[in-house]
């Protein structure tokens, strides 16, 4: 599945939620299921400090496919990370570097990716793309 197809799949999934709380309950479930970054990778250089929440991100490129693992101290932040990672994992570094994550806006979660929110997510997206750029052959 391409990045675009995966994004559309998420948009369709979210279309059934009319109530904000239902939507957030789903995000929180995703956050709880997020495969965690391995403890050894939870180092200072992988830590993205936000005012509100913190994010750890580890990036690898194996056989020209990006693989991200991440964690956050806040569960809603984790849920959104789960969505972002689902879209870009197993994709080529070129595609990841180009992705704009527009689906986040479509599903009404744009506020979490606002630079003023300071939850670490904006920097995490930037770091994901930077890591992908570094991996481009």
């Amino acid at each position: 599945m391409s990045i675009k197809e995966k994004e559309q799949e998420i948009i369709d999934e979210f279309a059934i939620y009319e109530d904000w709380m239902d939507k957030y309950e789903y995000i929180i479930e995703l956050g709880k299921e997020l495969p965690l970054i391995e403890e050894q990778y939870k180092t200072e250089d992988r830590l993205i400090k936000g005012c509100q929440s913190q994010v750890w991100l580890n990036a690898e490129c194996i056989d020209n496919k990006m693989n991200f693992t991440a964690d956050s101290d806040a569960i809603i932040t984790k849920g959104i990370i789960a969505l972002l990672i689902r879209v870009v994992n197993d994709e080529s570094p070129e595609d990841v570097a180009r992705s704009e994550f527009k689906f986040i806006k479509e599903i009404g979660l744009q506020e979490h990716l606002s630079p003023t929110r300071s939850n670490g997510l904006v920097s995490m997206v930037k770091d994901m793309k930077l890591n992908a750029l570094k991996a481009v052959k």
Binding site: I28, Q52, A74, I75, I76
Partner: protein, 404 residues
């Protein structure tokens, strides 16, 4: 106090957030504005807008009168001796920076400045910058686990080297009301001056600067029902006259030649450039609003809210309060076991409830408690017990969602 009548003066309280009635518990960050203030700012721009102080035309004179009348209203409310002891600034931060620079120019390398462990960053960083610039030493009054200053330690920090003590009247993160009378008296005994950060005070308690005896009192307009971008530094005339200007520009000069400039008198010496005229006039109206209230009734109502909310929150399993001083205003900082403040704040918002989460610009306090931040509910005179009930119900709904 008729809360319904007070609420009707604040149009924003009728707003809905995500389809839910707004419950505004972020008053420590900024208060809402009464219609009188909104209309006054609107009227200024609609009917009186002109630059002040040097115009010969009618509008300029009217705007000048309105601006200076606002200064007089504030002087009277605060009990300052002279109206020129009321300097208009951008807000508390600007007021403190003014003192840190201009009063700071009078300090030498061996001098000491005392702050406390519960200061907002804006009453820490300007002093650190001063100490770096002048080589002075910064000393800190410690805080106990209830969130109260250890004044017996303060007494031992004071010496003839102490030139300034800068402490907050009321803690923004914990609500603690400090014994500033004691702090001022002891500082004056060693010849030190005192700046009180009053950002969290005037909206809750009646402040009289001469009764307090402080040398400087700094606050923001937007936290006491006034516009943003305007604040006040009260300073004693004698000290302000000794201090060099903060910023250079128009309005603050007596005479300028290309070789040398002489400075204007107070308050203009510290008010370079075209000021926030609409803000100043609106702030005057905010003080008229305060004048229309009985502040003892306001405090009583807010204490009832504080006690009720504390009681109701205590029933939540795993709740931990931060800031349990004997004397505190209507601020409640807390955490719930296993729940991150960001998650709680996000979900409360979806239910129409506005609280603040994070470190509240007081990282040293959070470090002392060993936490990254708290959830803070801060009440104002227009809040009600019914709103607290909505808040508790919302918390009880989101806790099981967030807990594993």
């Amino acid at each position: 106090m008729n809360i319904k009548a007070i609420r009707s003066q604040f149009p924003i309280l009728e707003e809905k957030i995500h389809g839910k009635p707004l419950v505004y518990f972020d008053n420590g960050a900024t208060t809402q504005k009464p219609l009188s203030v909104i209309q006054r700012v609107n009227d200024y721009y609609s009917k009186e807008n002109a630059n002040i102080h040097r115009g010969v035309h009618t509008l300029s004179q009217e705007a000048t009168t309105a601006y200076e009348n606002a200064r007089n209203t504030i002087q009277e409310y605060l009990g300052a001796k002279q109206s020129h002891e009321i300097l208009f600034t951008k807000g508390t931060t600007d007021s403190i920076n003014l003192v840190a620079f201009s009063f700071g120019e009078l300090l030498n390398a061996d001098d000491e400045v005392i702050i406390s462990a519960m200061e907002h960053h804006s009453n820490i960083v300007p002093w650190q910058m001063l100490c770096e610039r002048k080589g002075c030493k910064l000393r800190v009054i410690p805080m106990n686990e209830k969130g109260e200053l250890e004044l017996d330690v303060y007494d031992t920090l004071l010496s003839e080297k102490t030139k300034l003590v800068a402490v907050t009247h009321i803690s923004n993160a914990l609500g603690t009301v400090n014994n500033v009378e004691h702090i001022i008296e002891k500082a004056h005994a060693v010849g030190a001056k005192v700046l009180i950060d009053g950002a969290q005070s005037i909206q809750h308690i009646k402040v009289n600067v001469q009764d307090l005896g402080c040398d400087f009192y700094a606050f923001s307009g937007h936290k006491l029902f006034g516009p943003t971008g305007i604040g006040v530094l009260y300073g004693k005339e004698e000290i302000l006259n000794q201090m060099p200007p903060y910023q250079g520009g128009g309005d603050m000069i007596k005479e300028v030649t290309l070789e040398k400039t002489t400075y204007n008198e107070l308050p203009h010496k510290f008010e370079a450039g075209t000021p926030n005229i609409a803000g100043g006039i609106g702030l005057g109206t905010a003080f008229e609003f305060l004048n229309s209230l009985n502040m003892e009734d306001v405090l009583k109502h807010e204490q009832e809210l504080l006690n009720y909310a504390t009681e109701e929150l205590s029933k939540i399993e795993g709740i931990q309060f931060y800031g349990e001083a004997e004397e505190k205003t209507s601020v409640i900082s807390f955490l719930i076991d296993g729940l991150h403040p960001y998650d709680v704040g996000t979900l409360l918002d979806k239910m129409g409830i506005a609280v603040r989460t994070g470190h509240h610009c007081t990282q040293p306090i959070m470090d002392q408690f060993g936490i990254p931040g708290t959830i803070r509910a801060s009440f104002a005179l227009y809040n009600t017990k019914e709103e607290i009930d909505l808040f508790i119900a919302a918390l009880n709904r989101i806790i099981p969602i967030l807990q594993d």
